[in-house]
């Protein structure tokens, strides 16, 4: 499913990353019959239709039971399968937190946890359905890779990597429309930032759907004569420490951008900088509050997770 928005002058095609998710899953399942999907009823919202049609037996629907879902995923891994455990990110993480900690991370099972429609994608459905905590929570769990791809191509790359990685991986799959971001021929590596734009004044570090917004903010800033570096951080855990330390050294400071509590990517970068290269930061994301009712677009505006909001944070950091 694609849509278009009018971004500045040009029309951009926006993509729902779930389309890349299911296409990649089907492709992986065709190549490797160990690949199975595990879900909590949400076949539709996980966009698993094409997979269900092609591999009806390899779709394990445990019903509305997220603890069971993650445990069953771990057991399928024990039984030699490569499970992709998919659910709305809010329920996969909060409801099955101990299973994520113990059955996936501590047990080091080869399993992929797919957090669907994360952040505030379910805007109007309210904070119970927002998954703004996932990055902050999961990045603290030892032994877990935490990825938030920024566009369809990166989503596919992360999933392919996770399918081959003998350990637990959490992947945030966005439903909010995003333009294509990563360059042609891009290869995902965990813990490797992608420099999308060079710049010497300030650094914008973003993850997930926020990456394209950071790029837009860099355009806004460029028009004002501010030269912003833009780093895409596809994994919040591990971080690309070298790229961040260099950015803190070479530019005036770092603005992090995420569709999540700012203790997610923002907190991770802050913890790195204070010990390695203290530098000023600004956080763009959801502050310490449950969001009011509103659509995701409205909420992103509300919290300033927009080109304008990011540019304003950069200006504030630079004292302009």
């Amino acid at each position: 499913m694609t849509a278009t928005i009018d971004a500045g002058a040009s029309e951009r095609v926006l993509h729902d990353c779930r389309d890349a998710w299911v296409a990649t899953l089907v492709e992986l399942a065709e190549a490797d019959d160990r690949v199975v999907a595990v879900v909590n009823d949400s076949v539709g919202s996980s966009k698993l239709g094409p997979f269900a049609e092609r591999f009806p037996d390899r779709l394990v629907n445990v019903g509305i039971a997220e603890q069971d879902m993650v445990g069953v995923g771990a057991g399928l891994a024990n039984g030699g399968k490569v499970p992709f455990v998919s659910a709305a990110s809010c329920f996969l993480t909060a409801r099955a937190m101990e299973q994520v900690k113990v059955d996936a991370a501590y047990s080091q099972h080869h399993m992929v946890l797919v957090g669907q429609s994360p952040g505030m994608a379910y805007g109007e459905l309210g904070p119970t359905h927002h998954s703004i905590e996932d990055l902050a929570w999961l990045r603290t769990i030892p032994g877990l890779t935490v990825a938030a791809p920024c566009d369809p191509a990166e989503t596919a790359q992360v999933l392919r990597w996770a399918a081959a990685h003998d350990g637990p991986v959490f992947v945030r799959v966005a439903r909010m429309g995003v333009p294509d971001v990563v360059p042609e021929g891009y290869r995902f590596e965990p813990g490797k930032a992608v420099t999308l734009r060079e710049g010497a004044d300030v650094t914008l570090v973003a993850t997930g759907i926020a990456v394209s917004r950071a790029l837009d903010a860099a355009d806004v800033l460029a028009a004002e004569g501010v030269d912003a570096r833009v780093l895409s951080m596809p994994t919040v855990k591990p971080l690309d420490e070298a790229a961040l330390v260099a950015a803190a050294r070479e530019t005036a400071g770092i603005v992090t951008v995420e569709e999540a509590l700012t203790s997610g990517l923002g907190g991770a970068v802050a913890e790195l900088l204070v010990t390695r290269q203290p530098a000023p930061m600004r956080f763009v994301g959801v502050p310490d509050t449950f969001a009011p009712t509103g659509s995701v677009q409205w909420l992103l505006e509300h919290f300033g997770i927009t080109a304008a909001g990011i540019a304003a944070a950069a200006r504030d950091l630079l004292g302009r």
Binding site: I64, A65, Y122
Partner: protein, 305 residues
């Protein structure tokens, strides 16, 4: 059959022409039963009218599960429960918790029908900064006893409030509605075990047994049958009723607390999307948003009942 629909479909808000709403209030206390049932029937009809218009206007909602639960809600708020708008601070008021919080619009319209919410507020459903969030929040609406949305939360909370009532020796009762799909959540079985063993006689668990969940039939996902046996084995006094029959619901609720001293489980047999011809028992309508034509047809069908 499974559905490839999205939880938040792409239909966008649209003004709805005819959203008048008459607040009928509680059924007269001393009226003969037939009159009470007529009152509830008319109220449920009006609540469904308003509900479908709200969903259409918001471009969001869970209309199937709203239409299946409306008769239960109306029966509780307009007749069975001992609670009124001026009594929300009374510790001895009856409690209601909508554990299947995705049917929020049905709760909001029922609360408006019973005088707990100004009807104008219904027009803000899901709008920015509205108190009428997609799932009910106790911090936003005084009459909402518990914030719900993630399935499997409301029943444990109901057990807690029933427990408090028991500690206080209060006559108040706690009613909670769970979806049938929702009963796949283990937290509910934890709560049922607690309720059964502590003989929380003033707790009434109503299962909206519409046989459908989000993506498919319950039986095709993770079946609940034999549901009555399960509930009985967890210590419930089990009653089965037609969940669209206001009289039968009234009787079931009047029997709480049960003579056995056990908590009551009412399996309310309903149809998702009831009584709309093209929605009823159709899994596609879990959270589908009706087109303008479908709204018109539904309103016409409601008119002719």
């Amino acid at each position: 059959m499974t559905v490839d629909e999205d939880l938040v479909p792409d239909v966008r808000p649209e003004a709805v022409p005819d959203d008048a709403f008459t607040v009928l209030g509680r059924a007269p206390g001393e009226a003969p039963r037939a009159q009470v049932v007529a009152h509830l029937t008319e109220a449920a009809r009006l609540v469904r009218r308003r509900d479908i218009q709200m969903v259409r206007a918001a471009g969001l909602g869970h209309i199937g599960g709203e239409f299946s639960v409306i008769d239960i809600l109306v029966t509780l708020y307009l007749a069975a429960m001992n609670v009124s708008p001026d009594q929300l601070g009374d510790p001895d008021r009856d409690r209601f918790i909508l554990s299947k919080g995705h049917a929020a619009a049905a709760l909001y319209t029922t609360l408006a029908m019973a005088g707990f919410l100004p009807p104008e507020q219904l027009g803000t459903f899901m709008q920015p900064m509205s108190q009428l969030n997609g799932h009910p929040a106790r911090t936003k609406i005084a009459a909402v006893e518990a914030s719900t949305g993630p399935l499997g939360h409301g029943l444990p909370i109901a057990v807690g409030t029933a427990f408090a009532g028991k500690l206080d020796g209060s006559a108040r009762r706690t009613f909670v509605v769970v979806g049938d799909g929702e009963l796949q959540e283990g937290s509910n079985w934890e709560a049922l075990m607690t309720a059964g063993n502590h003989r929380l006689s003033h707790l009434c668990v109503i299962v909206d047994r519409n046989r459908l969940q989000q993506g498919a039939r319950v039986a095709d996902t993770n079946d609940l049958e034999p549901l009555a046996d399960k509930l009985a084995a967890f210590g419930m006094d089990v009653v089965e009723v037609d969940g669209h029959d206001h009289g039968a619901l009234l009787d079931a609720f009047a029997d709480v607390p049960a003579a056995s001293g056990r908590p009551t489980a009412v399996i309310a047999h309903t149809d998702k999307g009831h009584p709309i011809s093209f929605m009823s028992d159709n899994v596609a309508w879990h959270h589908k948003v009706p087109s303008a034509e479908q709204v018109a047809q539904a309103l016409a069908e409601l008119e002719n009942r």
